[in-house]
Assembly symmetry: C2
Homo-oligomer: 140 residues x 2
DNA sequence: TTAATTACTTGCAAATCGCAAGTAATAATC
DNA sequence: GATTATTACTTGCGATTTGCAAGTAATTAA
């Protein structure tokens, strides 16, 4: 499963070898900002990912140690997916995508959702808050 | 050419509808950090993009107004590609990818190139410097 | 005037995507 | 306790995208 191949030795291109596709960062965003953590949660999101793609991407993310997968003791059916610290550390990338979007995409896509206002007044505060909050809600 | 379709109204997913693939941000990086600006420049980079993919992506980036294409008055052959302000404003995304890579990818890919040291001591300074510098070198 | 360079296009095989359908295990309901 | 629903998948298949090789057309250099 974990057949990572890197195009070259550039750190930026290498990051994109892992994260640079249509779905990987979307799934991380759904976990971080929308508290999604089960297969069904991801399927129900607005982006409309297909089941086979979701299944493949979750395995990919797990093999890269960006997320973990476990079952709760009282439920043998539902898998809970959680961001690892490595996954959580992609928060600044996601926030910069939101900022770029706010600045450049509204004329192309007028009905874009509003971003958290804090994104423009205290970016680092927002990032810290999101990470702290995520950790808090996922101690177990 | 410009057949942008957005999956949904999330700003982050929408940014990834434009930038979230294997090559788009790599080309922007090559322009911003490696001063590449001709078809040949891009082809010669370590990432090894194929000619047909490069051609398609340059048109895509131009149609989105992230880059411009023009010929110099003294050379009717070579096209010069340049980042627009919209393209330049993706610099923070690229820098955050480099930071994430520095932090998380070295154990997976030990021979990664060193990033500019400033990235960890004065991130905003580096971003400002890169943008100012790029503008200076591309006034014409 | 011949050769080289640049910026492409075309063809094709392989890989990936995305929809639909099916399955297997567990949990909830009657 | 049997039936139904839910969750997390897998499989099949057609469509799209990728990446390599080869070819082309315009311009420039030798």
């Amino acid at each position: 499963m974990n057949d990572v191949t890197f195009r070259c030795d550039c750190p930026i291109s290498s990051a994109l070898d892992l994260l640079g596709d249509k779905w990987t960062l979307v799934i991380i965003k759904q976990m971080l900002l929308e508290n999604r953590r089960t297969f069904k949660d991801f399927l129900e999101a607005d982006e409309g990912i297909a089941t086979n793609i979701l299944s493949t991407r979750l395995k990919w993310l797990e093999s890269l140690d960006l997320i973990t997968k476990e079952k709760l003791p009282d439920n043998k059916k539902v898998n809970i997916y959680r961001l690892t610290e490595k996954g959580l550390s992609s928060t600044p990338i996601i926030i910069e995508l939101a900022i770029w979007s706010d600045k450049n995409l509204r004329q192309l896509h007028p009905i874009l959702q509003e971003s958290n206002a804090m994104i423009h007044t205290d970016k680092q505060g927002l990032i810290d808050h999101l990470i702290t909050n995520y950790r808090k809600q996922n101690l177990e």
